[in-house]
C-alpha cells in the first residue's frame, strides 16, 4: 500500500461537513478521497450501544437541517434517508406549555402568533424555508462588500415578506429584545432563550437575535418532537450522505489520521498520513484542493503548521474561542417507567412519548429569565461547578429515540430508557478547577442531574435506577477530536464569530491564505454546527468561484449570495 495516490480533492475528516462536501464534489464528477482518523465515519452523527440492543445518540440527536438544499441536491431520499416530514406546528397544540416550578404554564395566543411571525409562518405564503435558508444556507459576503441592512440575507427576507419584523435595530438586538417585542409570556421567552443558548447562540447576546431565534425555529418549525428524528437517528441521516458520496465514486478511508497538509510553493498539494494509519504513512496528493473538514485549530496549527502561515494569523487563530458552554448528557435506564410528578400531570398522557412511554421533550424551569441568567452566570461567568440549586438548574430533554418502531435495533425488551437529558455546563478548558474538573466531579454531577430531573419526575431513586449513563465535555472531545471541549456547535455563535466574522474575517469565505486549501468545519465556518449540510453548500459557491467545482443542472445558488468580483459566479443562468 506504500504507493502514493492522487485525487482531485482530498478531504480531511469524515464528519457531516467532510462527507457532505465529498458528496457534492463527487457529484460534480471530481475524484474525491476522504480521510478519517477514527474507525467509523460520522463524527458527531454517532450512534452508540451502551446497553446491547439499545441505541443512544451521544452527540447529535436533533434534526435541524430540514430546510437544507442538500436533501434535493444530493437526492438523499435515494440513498435511504427517511424521516416523517409531516409539518406539525407545536404552537397549534391546545396543550402547548412550558414547564415551570409550579407546573405547566400555557403558551398564550400572542406567544404563538409572535413566534410564528418571527419564523415566517404568517407570510402569504409562509416564507419559513426562505428565511432559514437565507440565514444559514448562504455564504458570507465577500470581504470588500460592506454588510448592511440592505444586503444581509435575513433582513432582505423580512423586508420582503414581513416588514413589521424588520427594524433598523434588528441586527443589533438580543433574542430577548426581539422576544419582548413580539411575544408575551415570560416562560416561553425563557425556554426559547435557553434552547438558543444550548444550540450555540445565546438569548442575551447582542447582534445575534435572528440567528439565535432561528436556531430554535429550525427545531420547532415545521417539524418537532418525534418528527424531527430521522430514521436511524442522525447517524442514519449521515449514512445517506455517506452513500451519496460513495455512490458517486468518493473513496473513504477510515483509521487514517493526517499528520500534515503538504504545501509546495504556497499551494496545498496533498496530505501525509500518520505512520500508524490503516493505509500506511503515505502521501495522498490533491490535484485541485485540500479541504480541512476538521477543527480550525488542528487544521492550521497542527496540519499546516507555523512555517506556512503569517505569525499574526497564527495568533488570531489561537485566539478563536472554540468553546461555548458544554452539554453534560445523561441517559437513565430504569426498572419502571419514569412518571411526572403530580403538578405536571395535568396535561395528561400526551406528555408521555415514544413506544416505551417516557416523559418527553421539555425545558425546565422556565419561570423567568432570572433563572436563565443565574445559569448563564454559573457557566459563562463563574466558570465552575453549578452554584444554582438543583431546582433552579436549567435543563432540556430531547425527543424520544429509543423504542421508536422504526428504530429497529432497539430490541432490548426490558426496563425503560429515558430520553437524553442535558444541561449546559462550563467548558472543560475554561473550568476554574481545571479541565478535568467535571470528570472528577462526575459522581457529584450525576447526582445533581438526577436531583434536577427529579423536580419533574419520579423514579430516579436508587431502587429504580439501573444505570445512569453520562458524558462530560471531555468524554465527548476524546471521542471526537473536532468537538473541542465537548461543545456541540463548534464555537461561539456570537457576533464576533458569526457570518462574515466566522471564524475570522479573512477566513470567512472558506478560503485560506494557502492556495488550494479550504476549510469546512463547524468551528471554522458560517453557520457553524448542528449538522445542517450548510457549510458544504456554502463552500460549493466558493469552489465554483475558483473554478474547482462545475456542478450540473441540479445545482442552484443561494439567491442572497454575492459573487466575488473577478471570479466565476456560482449563480447559474
Amino acid at each position: 500500500m506504500g504507493k502514493d495516490e492522487r485525487f482531485d480533492i482530498v478531504i480531511v475528516g469524515a464528519g457531516p461537513n467532510g462527507m457532505t462536501t465529498a458528496a457534492y464534489l463527487a457529484k460534480c464528477g471530481l475524484s474525491v478521497c476522504v480521510l478519517e482518523e477514527r474507525t467509523e465515519c460520522g463524527g458527531a452523527c454517532e450512534t452508540q450501544e451502551p446497553i446491547p440492543g439499545v441505541r443512544i445518540y451521544p452527540h447529535a440527536m436533533l434534526m435541524y437541517a430540514s430546510a437544507a438544499p442538500g436533501f434535493e441536491q444530493l437526492e438523499l431520499h435515494k440513498y435511504g434517508f427517511r424521516m416523517e416530514w409531516e409539518p406539525t406546528n407545536p404552537m397549534e397544540a391546545a396543550n402547548a406549555g412550558l414547564a415551570c416550578t409550579d407546573g405547566w404554564r400555557a403558551i398564550s395566543d400572542a406567544d404563538k402568533l409572535g413566534w410564528a411571525k418571527i419564523g415566517g409562518m404568517l407570510g402569504q405564503p409562509p416564507f419559513t424555508r426562505e428565511l432559514l435558508r437565507a440565514t444559514f444556507w448562504c455564504p458570507p459576503h465577500p470581504s470588500d462588500v460592506e454588510v448592511t441592512d440592505e444586503n444581509t440575507p435575513y433582513m432582505q427576507v423580512y423586508k420582503k415578506h414581513q416588514p413589521d419584523i424588520w427594524t433598523p435595530e434588528l441586527r443589533e438586538m438580543t433574542m430577548f429584545d426581539l422576544m419582548d417585542e413580539h411575544l408575551e409570556t415570560e416562560p416561553f421567552k425563557t425556554g426559547m432563550a435557553f434552547a438558543a443558548w444550548a444550540s450555540g447562540a445565546a438569548g442575551h447576546w447582542e447582534g445575534v437575535a435572528i440567528p439565535a431565534a432561528l436556531c430554535v425555529q429550525l427545531l420547532t418549525l415545521p417539524n418537532t418532537g418525534k418528527n424531527s428524528i430521522p430514521r436511524g437517528g442522525l447517524h442514519g441521516y449521515f449514512h445517506a450522505i455517506h452513500r451519496a458520496a460513495v455512490h458517486r465514486g468518493a473513496v473513504i478511508r477510515t483509521s487514517c489520521p493526517v499528520d500534515e497538509i503538504l504545501i509546495e510553493d504556497g499551494r496545498a498539494v496533498g496530505v501525509r498520513l500518520r505512520e500508524t494509519a490503516a493505509a500506511g504513512g503515505k502521501t495522498i496528493r490533491a490535484n485541485k484542493a485540500v479541504i480541512a473538514a476538521c477543527d480550525v485549530h488542528q487544521a492550521f496549527l497542527k496540519m499546516v503548521g507555523p512555517k506556512h502561515l503569517d505569525p499574526a494569523l497564527i495568533r488570531t487563530i489561537k485566539d478563536i474561542s472554540l468553546k461555548n458552554q458544554t452539554l453534560y448528557v445523561s441517559v437513565f435506564h430504569t426498572k419502571k417507567q419514569l412518571t411526572y410528578k403530580e403538578r405536571f400531570r395535568e396535561l395528561g398522557e400526551a406528555r408521555y412519548v415514544g413506544e416505551n412511554r417516557q416523559p418527553g421533550l421539555g425545558i425546565y424551569p422556565c419561570d423567568s429569565r432570572e433563572i436563565y441568567y443565574e445559569n448563564v452566570r454559573d457557566v459563562d461567568g463563574r466558570k465552575g461547578q453549578p452554584t444554582v440549586p438543583p431546582e433552579r438548574a436549567l435543563w432540556f430533554q430531547t425527543p424520544p429515540q429509543s423504542f421508536d418502531p422504526t428504530d429497529c435495533q432497539a430490541s432490548y425488551p426490558r426496563g425503560y430508557i429515558s430520553n437524553a437529558f442535558e444541561m449546559a455546563v462550563t467548558s472543560p478548558d475554561y473550568h476554574t478547577e481545571g479541565e478535568d474538573a467535571l470528570d472528577r466531579h462526575k459522581d457529584e454531577m450525576d447526582r445533581f442531574m438526577r436531583e434536577s430531573y427529579s423536580q419533574m419526575v419520579d423514579g430516579l431513586d436508587d431502587d429504580n435506577l439501573i444505570h445512569h449513563w453520562s458524558a462530560t465535555g471531555r468524554d465527548i472531545e476524546f471521542r471526537n477530536t473536532g468537538l473541542i471541549g465537548g461543545t456541540w456547535c463548534g464555537s461561539r455563535h456570537d457576533e464576533d464569530q458569526l457570518w462574515t466574522n466566522r471564524p475570522l474575517p479573512e477566513l470567512a469565505r472558506y478560503r485560506t491564505p494557502i492556495e488550494g486549501l479550504y476549510h469546512a468545519h463547524q468551528t471554522s465556518g458560517h453557520p457553524g454546527g448542528l449538522c445542517l449540510m450548510a457549510i458544504p453548500y456554502n463552500l460549493m459557491h466558493i469552489l465554483i468561484e475558483d473554478g474547482i467545482a462545475e456542478p450540473g443542472k441540479w445545482w442552484y445558488a443561494s439567491p442572497y449570495y454575492i459573487p466575488q468580483e473577478g471570479k466565476i459566479s456560482a449563480r447559474r443562468p
Binding site: M1, T39, E40, T47, Q48, E49, P50, I51, P52, G53, V54, R55, K78, Y79, G80, R82, R231, G232, G233, H235, G236, H239, R243, V246, H247, V251, I252, T254, S255, T276, A277, A278, A279, G280, T406, D407, C408, Q409, S411, Y412, P413, R414, G415, I466, H467, D475, I476, F478, R479
Partner: protein, 542 residues
C-alpha cells in the same frame, strides 16, 4: 437509482460482506440489507467503555487469516491496509503457584514449556502439531471452502488416505478422549481440552471431533486485527462500494417475496419493494429466514418441522470488557517474563476438575462465582486500541443462556451484572495483582442475553447461529436440502453461519455461497480456486 438488483443479501456480517464483495466484483448489482446501524455483524470494534478505548465486542481471535480466501482475493493487506498481529506466546495458562504453561506458534518453544509439566506430553504435543497441521492443510482447511460432501462419500474418501483414516478416527471420539489419549498431565489436559472445546464443542460428545484438530492447530495460529476487528468489515465494505455494490443500514425487512416458488425480492417494513433478479441471499439464522420472512405457506411441512427442531447453542459467552489504567503484569511473569505479552490467557482452572465443574454447572444453569475464563489484553499488542500507557482488556467466559434461578432475565438484572463483574475481577487479580480497583477505570459487560438483544440472529446467544452437534454439521448444516447454499425456494440462498462450515468468521459460507450463485447463473468468476484446495482435490483428499 433503481430498486432492482441482481442479488440482495440479507445481513452484513462477515459472510454477507464476503458474498457481497465477490459478487459485486463479478459485475453483479448487489444490495446488502442490514438491520443494525453498522455493517460488520460480529466484526465490531466499539468504544463501549471510555473514549479512545476500542473494544472488539464480539469476534476478536481470528483463526483463519492464513487460509480464508477473502484476505488473498481482495488483497486486504496490500490494498486496504488490513494488518494482523500474531502475538507470542499464543496461549498462556498462568497458575496460582507462579508457573505458566505457554503455547507458541513455534512448536519447539511450546514443547519446552510443556516439558516443564510433562516430558511425555511435550513429545506427544510435537507429534500432534505436525499431524494436525497436515490434516488442516490437506483436508480440513480445503473442506472449509468447498461445498460439503455427503457423509457416505466423505467417509469413503477418507478411507482412501492415511491422513483421512487418522482424521476419521478422531471424529469418532469425544474431545475429552482425544485429549486424554494424547496427554497425561492434568494442567496440559486442562488447557488442551479448553482450547478444543472453546468454540462450542461438548467435551463428552463424539461425532464432530474432526474439529478438535482444527482448534488445536488454530490454537497456535490466532491473530488479532490491528486497529480492531471492524477494520476487516470496513475493508470488505469498501470492496463492495468500489464495485458499485450498495448497503442499506437500519433496514428491517418484512418478508422475502416468493412468487411461484421463486424468491424474487424483499419487501421492507416501510412497504418498499426491492426486487432481486437473480438471487436473495440470507446470512441470518434459519428461523428468521424461513419462518419469519419466507413464511410457512411457501414451504413443505416436513421442511418446517425440521427447522423447528434446530438446536441453538448449549452455551454462549459472558464477556467483560475493561478500560485499564495500565497494562497487566502477571504474577507468573516473575519467572516467565514473556507471560505479560501473551495473546490468549486461560485463568481460573487450576485443575481439570475446575474446568469440568464449570461445564457441569453450565448444564445446570448455575453461575458459579469462581469459574475460569479466557482473557486478552489487545492494546498490549496493538497500541491503537487504548490511549498511550493504558490498556484494554477482555475476560470471556463460557456461560449458559438460561440460568436455573431466574432464567435469562437474570442476566439483565443490575445486581447480577455488578456481582458478576466484581467476581471476575477478583479472580483476575489472583493472577494479575496490579489490576486493582484503582486501575480498572471502566467495565462493560455483555451476557448471553445481551448478545441476543444485540444481534437478532444470535438466538439464545448462539453466536454461530446454531449448535455444533452431529446432526447440524457438515453436509447436515443446516439440513441436507440447504447445505449446498441453495434452498427449496428457487433463487433463495443461504450464506451465513447456519450453513456449512459454520460460524467463527471463517468466511466459508459467504465464499461458498458466492461460488454456488456464480455457477447457477453462469457468472464468470474473477477469482481462482485456492492453491491448497486445488492440491487437496488433486491428491484425493476432498
Amino acid at each position: 437509482m433503481t430498486q432492482s438488483y441482481d442479488v440482495i443479501i440479507i445481513g452484513s456480517g462477515p459472510n454477507g460482506l464476503a458474498a457481497g464483495a465477490y459478487l459485486s466484483r463479478a459485475g453483479q448489482r448487489v444490495l446488502l440489507l442490514e438491520k443494525r446501524f453498522e455493517a460488520g455483524g460480529g466484526l465490531a470494534t466499539e468504544q463501549v467503555t471510555l473514549p479512545e478505548y476500542y473494544h472488539n465486542t464480539h469476534a476478536i481471535y481470528k483463526m483463519m487469516v492464513d487460509y480464508a480466501p477473502v484476505y488473498r482475493d481482495f488483497e486486504l493487506e496490500s490494498r486496504y491496509g488490513v494488518k494482523h498481529i500474531q502475538p507470542e506466546p499464543q496461549v498462556a495458562m498462568p497458575l496460582k503457584d507462579g508457573r505458566c504453561l505457554c503455547i507458541h506458534s513455534d512448536i519447539e518453544k511450546s514443547c519446552q514449556s510443556i516439558a516443564r509439566f510433562s516430558k511425555r506430553d511435550a513429545e506427544s504435543y510435537r507429534e500432534m502439531r505436525h499431524d494436525f497441521a497436515r490434516m488442516m492443510r490437506h483436508i480440513l482447511a480445503p473442506q472449509t471452502y468447498v461445498p460439503m460432501e455427503g457423509a457416505l462419500e466423505m467417509a469413503a474418501r477418507a478411507e482412501e488416505t492415511e491422513l483421512g483414516r487418522a482424521l476419521s478416527e478422531y471424529a469418532e471420539k469425544t474431545p475429552q478422549e482425544i485429549v486424554f489419549d494424547l496427554f497425561e498431565d492434568d494442567h496440559v489436559r486442562t488447557l488442551m481440552l479448553y482450547m478444543a472445546c472453546h468454540w462450542g464443542l461438548e467435551h463428552d460428545q463424539s461425532g464432530v471431533s474432526y474439529m478438535v484438530p482444527i482448534y488445536l492447530d488454530r490454537m497456535a495460529n490466532y491473530r488479532l486485527t490491528a486497529g480492531g476487528s471492524h477494520r476487516v468489515s470496513n475493508a470488505l465494505l469498501k470492496c463492495i462500494f468500489e464495485h458499485g455494490g450498495q448497503i442499506r443500514t437500519g433496514a428491517e425487512i418484512r418478508r422475502i417475496v416468493v412468487e411461484r416458488g421463486r424468491a424474487c425480492g424483499v419487501e421492507m417494513q416501510d412497504g418498499t419493494h426491492l426486487s432481486a433478479e437473480k438471487a436473495v441471499v440470507s446470512t441470518i439464522d434459519l428461523h428468521q429466514t424461513f419462518l419469519a420472512y419466507v413464511g410457512e405457506e411457501n414451504l413443505e411441512r416436513d421442511f418446517v418441522e425440521g427447522l423447528r427442531t434446530w438446536e441453538w447453542e448449549e452455551w454462549s459467552l459472558c464477556n467483560l470488557h475493561l478500560a485499564l489504567a495500565e497494562p497487566p503484569h502477571f504474577a507468573a511473569a516473575e519467572s516467565e517474563p514473556e507471560v505479560d505479552r501473551a495473546f490468549i490467557y486461560l485463568m481460573g482452572y487450576e485443575s481439570l476438575g475446575d474446568l469440568l465443574d464449570h461445564w457441569g454447572a453450565m448444564r445446570e444453569g448455575r453461575l458459579a462465582a469462581d469459574v475460569g475464563f479466557n482473557a486478552c489484553f489487545p492494546s498490549v499488542h496493538d497500541s491503537f486500541q487504548a490511549p498511550v500507557g493504558r490498556a484494554t482488556g477482555l475476560l470471556s467466559q463460557m456461560a449458559p443462556f438460561d440460568l436455573a434461578d431466574g432464567g435469562s432475565e437474570r442476566w439483565l438484572a443490575h445486581e447480577t451484572r455488578e456481582e458478576i463483574s466484581e467476581q471476575r475481577l477478583a479472580l483476575l487479580r489472583q493472577y494479575v495483582p496490579n489490576l486493582s480497583a484503582d486501575n480498572v477505570l471502566w467495565t462493560y459487560l455483555t451476557t448471553p442475553a445481551d448478545i441476543q438483544n444485540k444481534f437478532a440472529n444470535m438466538v439464545r446467544g448462539s453466536y454461530k447461529q446454531g449448535a455444533y452437534q452431529p446432526l447440524q454439521m457438515g453436509y447436515l448444516r443446516p439440513n441436507d436440502e440447504c447445505s449446498h447454499y441453495r434452498t427449496p425456494i428457487q433463487g433463495l440462498y443461504l450464506g451465513g453461519a447456519s450453513v456449512a462450515p459454520g460460524g467463527m468468521v471463517l468466511f466459508g459460507p459467504g465464499y461458498n455461497c458466492s461460488n454456488a450463485i456464480a455457477e447457477d447463473f453462469g457468472i464468470e468468476k474473477w477469482w481462482q480456486e485456492l492453491d491448497y484446495v486445488t492440491a487437496a482435490r488433486e491428491e484425493g483428499y476432498i
